[in-house]
């Protein structure tokens, strides 16, 4: 047993991250009202430094800290870099919005940093309590961020729903943890795997416990039937926070699920094969319902919420296909997470940009966008095509990779269902594209021109958003046509958890 101070340096990035967050909070106190923008740059610079730091310090590490509570391996490094990169992108995306529409800018960035810290720890944790704490760190930050525009009724409502449902879900998760604990007496993933493998009696307590832990996770990723909060919260939350919810928190939850499943469930191979199908059913229900319900949506945020539910279904299909002898599925899931995040980032960045100009968020408001904002329209269109899974964008390649993995594990029906659901998805994505490119510009309530009402529509989007959109779109295409570098990284990451 190693002392607590053992290898503490390997956690430097986490400490530094916490420090950075506090620094932002502290700086916030001193900066005058007009200069709060600086905080965004400080956060971004900090994150950039931390990315470099993590890469330099933790490259090729494969250590387990605190008696196996935390893992510092290439899997966690991959997600750490990914999350921090996402953090930078989210900050870039939200800067305008935060500056013009939110009060208390400093706390926003500080909370964002804390949530990233939570995400990083989620990807590292190999023990249920640690995972739970990290999860709550992320959730609490998000609760606050969701309720950020505190005078808006919608925001209030979504925050209340989020926290109530979230609290119940963490109670259920904890109850599951307690059940597993009371039967197996362990909380570490690898020990759970051992326990599951050798336990011969099928005591309901143990397996119900496992099931309830799953519920907690499924809530986080908003899988059916634990998805109902998502559309409401997405709709009510401030736009950048919606984006963050859709991209960041989901990816973090999946990082946790990946590690939990591949270290805690899959090694008990025979058992895993018995109840693998649970994931399959969840996946099937999620992808179908998400895509179907999205068909009737008019509000863009709600639409994207349901769309993300659908995508969660696809990723869950990948989780179903996790196996002890092939890393195809975990590669696929990670590739999908990255690709989906990049794509969604582009979509949200474009929508936020539009929202900054007009403050509108309905689908029909996008009418004629291609005429007065061709760049925005192109990026949004590409993003939507990518979400729909069409080449040359990453959406196609990642789906192909993931579904191949699913089919390879014998779940061809699930892959088929996933492909079918993406067809349904195509319809509503195309509907949005129809508004952007085909429908004429909307006229205001009194028949006045939208352009007159919103003169900002004729101006270019802000530089930060253009940066995000440009790099995001380029990344979307690049990952779509040449994903090899990313796949190489992912392979080394998934080796850390699979074999």
């Amino acid at each position: 047993m190693s002392p607590l101070s053992d290898n503490l340096d390997l956690l430097t990035p986490e400490f530094a991250m916490a420090g950075l967050a506090f620094l932002v909070f502290a700086l916030d106190l001193f900066l005058p009202e007009g200069r709060k923008n600086l905080l965004a740059f400080v956060s971004m610079a900090g994150l950039a430094v931390l990315i470099v730091l993590s890469l330099v310090m933790l490259w090729d590490e494969d250590k387990s800290l605190y008696d196996g509570l935390l893992a510092v391996d290439s899997f966690s490094l991959f997600f750490k870099v990914f999350f921090m990169g996402l953090g930078i992108a989210i900050i870039l995306t939200s800067m305008d919005f935060v500056e013009n529409r939110l009060k208390h800018q400093g706390e926003f960035y500080g909370l964002l940093l804390f949530s990233i810290l939570g995400m990083n720890v989620m990807a590292q944790s190999r023990e249920l309590l640690t995972a739970y704490i990290a999860l709550e760190l992320l959730s609490f930050s998000l609760y606050v961020m969701v309720s950020y525009t505190k005078n808006s009724d919608k925001t209030n409502e979504s925050a209340l729903k989020y926290i109530l449902v979230g609290a119940v879900s963490s109670a259920i998760l904890l109850y599951g943890v307690s059940m597993v604990y009371s039967t197996l007496g362990v909380t570490k993933f690898d020990e759970i795997a051992e326990g599951l493998a050798i336990v011969s009696d099928v005591s309901p307590a143990l397996w119900v416990g496992v099931g309830l832990i799953l519920v907690g996770m499924m809530f986080k990723v908003s899988a059916v039937p634990f998805h109902m909060w998502a559309p409401d919260v997405y709709e009510g939350a401030p736009y950048p926070v919606t984006a963050y919810l859709a991209i960041g928190s989901k990816a973090a939850a999946f990082a946790l699920i990946l590690r939990l499943a591949s270290e805690g469930f899959v090694p008990a191979t025979e058992r895993w094969e018995q109840w693998q199908v649970v994931f399959a059913v969840l996946a099937a229900a999620t992808m179908l319902l998400g895509n179907l319900v999205a068909l009737g949506q008019k509000n863009l945020k709600r639409l994207l919420a349901y769309s993300s539910v659908g995508h969660v279904g696809f990723i869950l299909a990948g989780v179903t296909a996790l196996s002890a002898n092939s890393d195809l599925a975990s590669n696929g899931v990670m590739f999908y997470l990255v690709g989906y995040s990049v794509t969604n980032l582009v979509v949200f960045a474009a929508l936020i940009s539009f929202f900054n100009m007009t403050g509108r968020e309905m689908m029909s408001d996008l009418g004629g966008l291609a005429d007065h904002q061709p760049f925005l329209a192109a990026c949004l269109g590409m993003g939507l095509f990518s979400l729909a899974g069409l080449p040359i964008f990453v959406g196609f390649t990642m789906k192909f990779y993931l579904f191949t993995a699913v089919a390879d594990q014998g779940y061809l029906w699930l892959a088929g269902l996933a492909i079918f659901s993406s067809l349904i998805g195509l319809y509503y994505y195309l509907n949005v594209i129809r508004y952007i490119y085909i429908e004429p510009a909307l006229t205001g309530e009194n028949g006045e021109d939208l352009l007159e009402e919103y003169p900002a529509l004729t101006k270019r989007p802000s530089f930060t958003l253009i940066t995000v959109l440009g790099t995001g779109s380029a990344a979307m295409i690049w990952l779509g046509v040449y994903p090899k570098p990313l796949i190489d990284a992912i392979e080394s990451a998934s080796r850390a958890i699979v074999f």
Binding site: L160, K161, V165, G211, M218, V224, M228, V278
Partner: protein
Amino acid sequence: MEWAWLIPVFSFASALLIVVFGRSLPSKGAFLSILAIALGFAGFWVVLISWMGADTTTSGCFTSENTHLLTCDYERTWFNAGAVGDVGSVSINWGILIDPLTIAVLGLVTFVALMVQIYSLAYMKGDTRFGWYFAIHSLFAAAMLTLVLADNFLLLYVAWELVGICSYLLIGFWHERSSAREAAKKAFIVTRIGDVGLLVGILLIWREVGTFSMLDAFEAVRTGAMSEGVTTVAALLLFLGAMGKSAQMPFHVWLPDAMEGPTPVSALIHAATMVIAGVYLVARAFPLFEAYDADALMVVSVVGLVTAFVAATIALVATDLKRILAYSTISHLGLMMLSLGAFGVTAAVFHMMAHGFSKALLFLGAGSVLHSTEFQETGEMGGLRKVMPITAILFSIGALSLGGIPILAGFWSKDEILIAVNEHHNVAFIVLTLFTAMLSALYMGRAMFLVFFGPLKEQNEHAHESPLPMTLPMLLLGILALGFGLISFNWPGNYGGFGTFIYFLHPHEFHFEIWLGAVSIVLAVASFIAAYLFYVKRSISLDTVRSNFAGILNVVENKYYFDEVYQWTIDRVVLVLSRLIAFFDRAIVNDIIVNGPADVTRKFGIALRLHVTGHVYSYILAMAIGSVGLALFVWWRVA
């Protein structure tokens, strides 16, 4: 003879040149067309002479086992279907087959085409699409010559379709007239129905024999490689094609309407050349028809006879000059078919040529009349011999020839037919044939007398004789109509008469069945006299005849209601079916089967979204139920 393929190529080249450069050529390229066909005519003589001088030692020549004639066959690969050398691959050839049948029809086509094109120079003068007219004429000549020369069924079919399209284009030449438009369409579509049979027949033969070569097919029939059933069916299918092209009942309806085209076109295509393609096809594929029990030939003769008779009756009551001629053409085509059906290949080909020259002459004469009077109804004419004497004389020669007046070409060929029918069929056939021949003389006389005799109408006094480019071709054709019959005799030297030039299996020395000849002469002369009495002297009242046969006449004047039946079929069956399918496609397949699931999915999605009620406790309820379900599910899977 190897170079005979150049004959159609001249005309092809001229067609192409006129289309591409026509506008900048003098006389819009008409001279090119005439030059090409003149070269073709010269080519015919070259071929004829070299065939005469050829024997089995000449390259490509041999004595056909089927016809016992010296036949020359030259072919080159056109394209390969399937890789060369593979099982099941086929090489498709361009090939020309030269035997007396080819040569005879070649002569007919090149000569009449040359005449008609020269005639057209004057006739079509000033037309806005003068160049276009000659381009299609050239194309037609080329295609027709290819048809005649082809040594395989595929090439024949190619040419067959090409002449069809030229006919379509020429009938619809004055497409501003809706009747011309409709007629063109009708002609093409009706013949196309026959073509289906032709193509199916060709493919059937191919399926059995494995090649498209006619000689191979005949060989297969002769050796019995092709079974009786298939041979008969194939022959009948080919005949279906022939019926379409040669306007046999019930596919004859297009030909009268085809008179909407310029008259020289009618002369060339719808009298002398294209319409004989069917007869040519049956003659060419005769080994298929006569094989085994020659069941197919029976069908051919019956169809021919019925056609000949029915068309003759209609011709008798038609009033439009060109339509009279058209029905006469149908009737004579029927006679040719009848002759073929009676094993009279020689007679059929002979009649084909005699009729070709005569009918071309008649049409050109009619064109001359039309050109000058601008009337087409015989009722508007009369006495024209006073203003256009040359035309009148030449037209009369043609009419007498077709009517079967001795020493004119038509007499000899008709006589051959009668002999063939008499030899191979029963009494009913010969009686009907004779009756048809009589009708033929009667309506020819009627046309001739109505147009050129009797009093000249005032409205036609300005009419005048046509210019030389029109009368000269008529004159040349007239000479042939007069004297062509002479080639049937055994002349001194090594020419033994037409029957030794073209025959099937064994040569027919010329002979003359006295009683048949006598009967036919009597009938023909009597008919002409009757016609004279009816239409010039008016000494026998037409009205009494009419009133006596009112019922029948009504049917005949309505052309036996063929057009009505077709119209009804198209309007009430084909078009209705088509609309039904189109409606089915839009309303059922598209709006229900395609849109339906999409709509249902979307509506289902819209309904499904109601499960997100907006109440937080219902979310938690769903979560609770989900938790219990999930936990139990996990447990159940494991247990």
